[in-house]
């Protein structure tokens, strides 16, 4: 009976062999997949159990993890939650969602490869792994000024440091309180999240960088003017049509000036005057003169079409291609299908103020380890040269005139030269227009560039109206920066 016993031993070896294989498959080959499953409570608990890093404005944390005495070990707390909601995002059962929480999840949670050596040393010292802290570029005074200005309305405001690209303010309204969806009561979080998600005013959306993109209206005339000046065929003193409307080729439709009044009594204006009074016929003609390609190229040099991350992904702004002449005329005054983010328009203003150079916008000033050592520090990156510096100077002079004696007088700051441009962007007939303002100050060496949009706040067809609503908000933001 020994032979069958030996064969039985072979069978036993095969049985145990199959168990070794199945164990290997589960614990090694497919382990990552299993750990990544959404319904994996262990993964959820262990990510919660980490001491997630802080998000800082200056030295003040706007998001921090505090020990809690439940099974999740830590509770995420957002100081001034609604003010910084779109900057922080929130951290809930749905994972890190929106803002820096999502964009820098691996750094905050401590799993990033950038923290590799730290993790190895944690392994040997037995120290609990800690996430890195992220110090933002935000200026709380500017952020608060923007939030105050947009209180109770829908819209967005962005402020940049023109010479570096550092984001000084990033505000989107309406907002929400990230604390309300970061609790440890699953049912409560689900209800509140569903309510926010279904709210028709979309408070979860960051309108400043990733909303449904806005038509820019007249603030886009800066881009059209830049295209004209860069082409060399046009100077600030070039004469353009300035009647109450512009006849368009190929169609019976016309391009009317705002308020249906002529830009000048003579029916002709210089480019500078066209900018000062925001003359639609003049810019419509300028656009048709330089052509669609020149306009698109100019927009691209300002950053249109680029997918940048700040580190949150920014939806690229766009100028439509394949336009016919009437569409090109419309696009030249920021209508038709031109679509922008407020951040992109702030970049346009900043580039004009920065001698034509577009700096990459960023929100992370530095990444700081739990032991306060700096792991990564932001450096300024030039994205492109939008216009030569002499053109930038010409554009700046025109924008200064806009604020001194044109449509943007409400943005004046005593003792400081401000450059700006108003906009009233129509979107659909019968609805109120979006009010726009882009600006930078001081004009000769700007410390801040801003873009402000207030949704459905301006009388359609009235250029003054846009400046009246958005201009003061831009002024308060710039004052907040300059008064420091």
């Amino acid at each position: 009976m020994n032979a069958p016993v030996r064969r039985l031993a072979l069978l036993v070896a095969a049985l145990f062999g199959s168990l070794l294989v199945s164990t290997t498959l589960i614990q090694y080959v497919f382990a990552a997949d299993l750990n990544a499953r959404a319904d994996n409570r262990r993964t959820l608990l262990s990510t919660y159990a980490r001491d997630r890093g802080d998000i800082l404005v200056g030295q003040t944390p706007i998001a921090t993890s505090e020990p809690s005495d439940d099974e999740f070990k830590y509770q995420r707390i957002y100081a001034e939650g609604p003010l910084y909601a779109h900057v922080t995002g929130f951290y809930s059962f749905y994972g890190a969602s929106g803002g820096l929480e999502q964009a820098e999840d691996s750094l905050l949670s401590g799993s990033s490869d950038k923290l590799f050596y730290r993790r190895v040393s944690d392994l040997f010292t037995g120290r609990k792994p800690q996430g890195a802290n992220i110090e933002t570029t935000l200026d709380p005074a500017v952020q608060e000024a923007a939030a105050r200005g947009l209180d109770g309305v829908k819209g967005a405001a962005v402020a940049l440091d023109p010479s570096t690209g550092a984001i000084l303010a990033l505000v989107s309204r309406p907002t929400y309180d990230p604390n309300s969806v970061s609790g440890h009561d699953l049912e409560e979080v689900e209800t509140r999240y569903a309510a926010l998600n279904e709210d028709p005013d979309t408070p979860l959306v960051d309108r400043a960088i990733s909303g449904d993109l806005y038509p820019p209206g007249s603030v886009f005339k800066v881009v059209t003017a830049a295209a004209g000046l860069t082409s060399g065929d046009v100077t600030p003193d070039s004469v353009l049509p300035g009647g109450a409307f512009l006849e368009l080729p190929q169609t019976d439709a016309t391009l009317p000036n705002h308020d249906n009044v002529p830009c000048s009594p003579t029916g002709e204006v210089t480019l500078t005057e066209a900018m000062v009074v925001s003359c639609n016929p003049a810019f419509g003609q300028l656009g048709m003169d330089i052509g669609a390609e020149a306009l698109q190229d100019q927009a691209a040099r300002f950053g249109f079409g680029d997918a940048v991350s700040v580190p949150m992904p920014v939806t690229p702004s766009s100028v439509p291609s394949d336009m016919n002449e009437p569409q090109l005329a419309q696009a030249s005054i920021g209508q038709y299908d031109v679509r922008v983010t407020p951040l992109q328009m702030a970049m346009v203003a900043a580039a004009v103020g920065n001698n034509g150079r577009v700096m990459k916008p960023y929100l992370d000033q530095s990444v700081i380890g739990s032991d306060l050592s700096v792991i990564e520090s932001a450096g300024r990156t030039e994205l492109s040269e939008a216009v030569p510096s002499e053109v930038a100077g010409q554009l700046r002079d025109m924008m200064v005139d806009v604020v001194q004696r044109g449509t943007g007088t409400l943005a004046q700051i005593p003792g400081v030269e401000v450059a700006g441009k108003t906009g009233t962007a129509e979107h659909g007939t019968g609805r109120k227009a979006h009010a726009w303002f882009i600006a930078f100050a001081p004009a000769d060496d700007p410390e801040i560039a801003v873009a402000v949009i207030v949704e459905d706040a301006a009388a359609a067809g009235s250029e003054i109206s846009g400046g009246q609503v958005a201009g003061p908000i831009a002024r308060q933001m710039m004052e907040a920066r300059l008064n420091e």
Binding site: M1, N2, A3, P4, V5, R6, L8, A9, L11, V12, A13, L15, F16, S18, L19, L20, S22, T23, T24, L25, I26, Q27, Y28, F30, A31, A32, D33, L34, N35, R37, D39, N40, R41, R42, T43, L45, S46
Partner: protein, 459 residues
């Protein structure tokens, strides 16, 4: 010059003692580790409990020295280590569930362990020769089948968690399947050693296989019917597979005819397939096995899914004892103790455990090879194979090699009846191994002749 006498066979008792100290040492360290990792302090009674466990193991060792001095020296240390690690993991789950040591399951399990070792020692002392068991072949058969089907009786049989494999008398509950496994192995060995000649008579030859005569198919059909009854009425695929597999394996060892395995496998697969077609609970088990993460399966039970995620969380090296969350899986201390080990000791730790079991089985099969009597050979092979098959059914169930069943892991899982049965099983294996390794008294050399004197000893 040549030496006529064979070298003195090694008893291995001193090796056993050293290994035993190592095994208890590992268990003590694991206990300390769990306390430090999960509680942050030295666990309660570390010296008393480890010392007590050592005393129990040493007592068993002394019994072996006294009554079975040639017994296999590896079995006791392996089983001591497995049982001890099981205790540690059960205590670790107690901590996770917030139970103190006095109200937890671990201390009960320790008492059961002591009782199980006492019974095993009793078996070694009372059972001087395993061949005595052959006298009780049919008694064991009746008791074995009786116990197997006992949970089907009204009143005392209870259905828990989908399987009717428990009997409950007052506050006592008992899973008779484990004891039945032992008794049936004795019955099969006794029965087959008698009938093996008849069963191996050749019948017709089909497809190169010599089939047995039709009239000899009776026993296998009875065993098949019983195992299907267990599958269908007790809803216990594991026990069903275990008993039928055990019977077929022993039948094969007894008759050396591969055709019995073919017939057995065919019968079981056919029976199981019909049961799958007819019974909803079998279909659910299969769904859970094949498509664990489908919404339907998760709605039926997410236990297997949770166990798998626990093992994945452990990965290659594990979270470390006391550092994982094995308590998130139901029955983490009994049916799912293997995923608990997988989570906290990792793939490497599980490999080590599986190797311990494989080694134990190997020692059992080696005992079978070395045994001179047919009954002992069959019994040892059967007992060893039943251990292997049970490991396969349990670990294969939680790692999706086969559908999940309700069996417990021998020596590791929480549960008194399982411990008693498996320690007794090892005691019988030890008894047979003592017989297998003990040198035969050489003809003409006995009594006085064994006593060497200085005078005749060669330099």
């Amino acid at each position: 010059m040549s030496v006529v006498s064979s070298p003195a066979p090694r008893k291995g008792r001193n090796i056993e003692l050293v290994l035993l100290l190592g095994a208890v040492g590992i268990v003590g360290l694991a206990y300390l580790n769990v306390g430090l990792a999960a509680l942050g302090t030295v666990p309660p009674g570390i010296f008393a409990l480890t010392g007590g466990y050592l005393a129990v193991a040493i007592a068993m060792h002394l019994v072996l020295r006294w009554r079975a001095s040639y017994a296999d020296p590896l079995m006791l240390p392996i089983v001591t280590l497995l049982n001890g690690l099981g205790l540690v993991m059960i205590y670790r789950i107690d901590i996770a569930k917030g139970r103190s040591i006095t109200e937890g399951v671990a201390l009960k399990q320790l008492m059961w362990s002591a009782l199980a070792v006492a019974i095993a020692a009793g078996v070694i002392i009372v059972l001087r020769d395993h061949r005595l068991l052959r006298r009780y072949t049919y008694l064991a058969g009746v008791l074995g089948f009786g116990l197997l089907l006992l949970p089907l009786l009204p009143v005392i049989g209870t259905s828990e968690f989908g399987s009717r494999i428990w009997i409950r008398i007052g506050p006592m509950s008992f899973q008779p399947g484990e004891v039945a496994k032992l008794l049936l192995a004795i019955f099969f060995a006794g029965y087959l050693v008698q009938t093996r000649d008849a069963l191996s008579v050749a019948g017709r030859k089909v497809l190169g296989m010599t089939l047995p005569r039709a009239r000899d198919l009776g026993p296998i059909l009875v065993a098949w019917g019983a195992s299907l009854a267990v599958l269908v009425f007790e809803r216990d695929l594991g026990s069903s597979l275990l008993f039928f597999g055990l019977f077929v394996a022993m039948l094969y060892v007894a008759t050396e005819r591969i055709s019995w395995i073919a017939i057995g496998l065919t019968l079981f697969v056919a029976g199981a397939y019909v049961a799958y077609l007819i019974f909803g609970h079998v279909q659910t088990r299969v769904l859970l096995w094949l498509d664990t993460f489908s919404p339907d399966a998760l709605a039926a039970s997410d236990q297997l899914a949770k166990g798998l995620m626990g093992m994945a969380a452990g990965g290659m090296v594990g979270t470390g004892l006391g550092r994982g969350r094995p308590d998130l899986t139901y029955f983490a201390e009994s049916d799912f103790i293997i995923p608990s080990f997988g989570e906290e000791m990792g793939m490497i730790g599980l490999f080590a455990l599986l190797m311990l079991y494989a080694l134990l089985v190997e020692r059992g099969l080696r005992t079978s090879l070395g045994t001179r009597d047919g009954f002992g050979k069959l019994l040892a092979a059967g007992l060893a194979f039943s251990l292997a098959l049970q490991c396969f059914v349990v670990v294969g169930g939680v790692t999706r090699v086969i559908p999940l069943t309700g069996l417990t892991m021998p020596f590791l899982s929480s549960g008194g009846s399982s411990l008693l049965a498996n320690w007794t099983l090892v005691a019988i294996l030890l008894r047979i191994s003592d017989h297998a390794r003990r040198p035969l008294p050489e003809v003409g050399q006995s009594g006085v002749a064994d006593a060497q004197t200085q005078v005749v000893k060669m330099p």
